[in-house]
């Protein structure tokens, strides 16, 4: 390979590369003007909405829907500023967020999880608080094995954390954790990997993974077992709605997609993720 040959080869590669880049960017300039939806928000809703979006795209081949996570707060902000067409929010809208319209697509709860081998049957409200603020440190104090409790908390900005703090009347700096998880799946993974740990996640996520064989168990809260049925019957204390929010009245593609996401056609997807289909849907 002479230097000249190498130079020619390099020029050839550059030519091919620029051709690829140019041809692949032109369709995007045309396509991005219409038939594209951007949805951002809660990481709890993103997987199920991603599946719904895939099915919608297969029915409408000229549409492309991008689902990105970023948290409920981001969903609200992006819906307001127009960066996203639809926001995903895994809680009810607050008072100062009433300028947005929300559409319920599913119901979910937040339950405490422990490793499947952990024999603990139930924890009272006070026990949970004491575990998380560091007053109770060993499973033996609760009638279990003589092992330190590995407390798993969520990172800041997650609405699961917000709901947990609100329900138990705690503030974020009060919690003494051993591991911080980024989102639900990380939390589940950490609990599954640590036989003496405790964490809290979305019930839908947890049930999905339990059915897939992940060794975790959900604890009942205030006497109510954590199942889809109790969430649907509104008996489980720590429930939350999964909402799609928009800043102005939806129309066109946005309206169509929101209606699709709430329709009976995607019931099976919602249920396959172990969320509760809202009654009347």
């Amino acid at each position: 390979m002479t230097p000249r040959y190498m130079a020619l080869m390099a020029r050839g590669i550059a030519a091919i590369a620029s051709a690829v880049i140019l041809t692949s960017s032109t369709p995007s300039i045309a396509a991005s003007e219409e038939k594209q939806l951007v949805v951002t928000g809660a990481s709890t809703i993103a997987p199920v909405l991603g599946e719904i979006a895939k099915r919608y795209e297969s029915l409408h081949p000229d549409v492309r829907i991008d689902v990105q996570t970023g948290g409920s707060a981001r969903g609200i902000k992006d819906a307001r500023t127009g960066l996203a067409d639809i926001g995903m929010v895994s809680r009810a809208l607050k008072e100062d967020e009433k300028d947005l319209t929300s559409f319920l697509i599913a119901l979910d709860g937040v339950a405490l999880i422990v490793h499947a081998d952990n024999p603990i049957a139930e924890l009272t409200r006070q026990q949970i608080i004491d575990i998380y603020v560091g007053k109770i440190n060993n499973w033996s104090e609760l009638g279990g094995a003589d092992e330190p409790i590995v407390v798993i908390n969520k990172a800041e900005g997650r609405s699961t954390l917000e709901l947990f703090l609100e329900h138990f009347g705690l503030k974020s700096p009060d919690i003494q954790a051993d591991i911080i998880a980024g989102d639900n799946e990380q939390d589940i993974k950490a609990v599954a990997g640590n036989p003496f740990s405790i964490g809290y996640v979305s019930i839908g996520n947890a049930e999905y993974d339990i059915k897939a064989g992940v060794p975790i168990r959900m604890l009942p809260l205030e006497g109510v077992p954590a199942t889809r049925e109790t969430v649907a019957a509104e008996r489980f204390p720590l429930r939350r709605p999964l909402n799609l929010v928009v800043s102005k009245q939806p129309e066109g593609l946005v309206l169509d997609f929101i209606n699709y996401a709430r329709s009976a056609e995607v019931r099976d997807i919602v249920e396959s993720f172990y969320y509760v289909v809202p009654p009347g849907s």
Binding site: T69, G70, G71, A73, R74, K77, E147, P148, V150, N153, A155, E156, G157, R158, K171, S172, P173, A177, D178, I179, I180, G182, A190, G193, N194, F196, S197
Partner: protein, 295 residues
């Protein structure tokens, strides 16, 4: 005559070639300025609303509760980096000495090639190994396993090849006269290495360590996967820890407004660390040049 003058003969000042090249150089040279500017601009809201002081005096780092103390994160970063360097430097030096002076040439070449390969392994792979193999191992010693120790071990693995390769290069760049002189004086191999060569190469070795330090400070992925990520100053090496880099990666997607701006402030802190590292390097290498001239 140096290259740039060779072409002066046929070449006036202005030409298309010159303009293009000046343009390329300008972009390359000002990129760092652009980066600092962008990060600074994004950090401004936090700096002006929260104030520099609160970044070290608040109770802890809980941005959603309006607490912005970076100290536990800085301490976490420094502990991980210091621990990793404490482990990596001696081992790297030993391996570098081995490769340059003790190993038969064929083994030395293979060893060097392998280290070059390992230097390019992505941090996710070390993180993956740490998560699946190392953390459960440490958990047997002391739960939860995701800890400062795990972070230190993984970062050690990451910086070791880099430090070793640079150290080996500086050891083999020591002028041959030093060896001749020592041999003529009857020094043993060990003495030659420890009393003559290593001191002669010390600024190159220090540069290797400093580069490793820079890498250790900036390491994100592997640390995030094994360190536990709790914001507090660890009491023991089995405690979890969070570094500045892991903090940014963990929170940036979910951070809004002031929180996001505060994360950019922590990025500024990281840039500051790195600038210190680079200046230390410049100092060391210019000292080396000075010494080489003086010898």
């Amino acid at each position: 005559m140096s290259s740039h003058l060779a072409l002066r003969v046929t070449n006036p000042g202005f030409s298309l070639a010159n303009c293009i090249l000046w343009g390329a150089a300008t972009i390359a040279g000002t990129l760092i300025g652009l980066i600092v500017f962008v990060v600074l601009a994004a950090a401004m809201p936090a700096l002006s609303n929260v104030g520099l002081e609160r970044f070290v005096t608040d109770a802890s780092w809980h941005p959603t509760s309006d607490q912005f103390n970076l100290a536990p994160l800085i301490v976490g970063t420094l502990l991980v980096a210091a621990g990793a360097l404490a482990l990596a430097c001696p081992i790297s030096l030993a391996a570098a000495v081995f490769v340059t002076f003790y190993a038969p040439p064929s083994i030395a070449t293979v060893y060097r090639r392998l280290m070059e390969l390992f230097a390019g392994v992505p941090s996710v792979l070390f993180g993956l190994w740490g998560l699946v193999v190392l953390v459960p191992l440490i958990a047997k010693l002391s739960p939860p396993g995701a800890s400062l120790l795990a972070a230190i071990l993984v970062v050690t693995l990451m910086v070791l090849p880099t430090i070793m390769l640079i150290a080996a290069t500086s050891l083999s760049s020591v002028p041959i006269e030093h060896l001749h002189g020592a041999r003529a004086l009857g020094f043993s191999r060990a003495s030659t290495i420890f009393k003559v060569i290593i001191p002669a190469a010390r600024s190159g070795l220090a540069a290797a360590a400093v580069l490793g330090a820079g890498r250790a400070i900036g390491e994100t992925m592997a640390v995030m996967m094994v360190a536990g990520n709790v914001v507090k100053i660890p009491d023991s090496i089995y405690d979890p820890v969070r570094t500045l880099s892991a903090n940014i990666a963990l929170e940036i997607a979910y951070a809004m407004d002031l929180h996001r701006s505060a994360l950019f402030v922590s990025a500024l802190v990281m840039i500051a660390f790195v600038v210190v590292v680079v200046w230390a390097l410049e100092l060391l290498t210019s000292k080396a040049a000075f010494q080489a001239n003086a010898d």
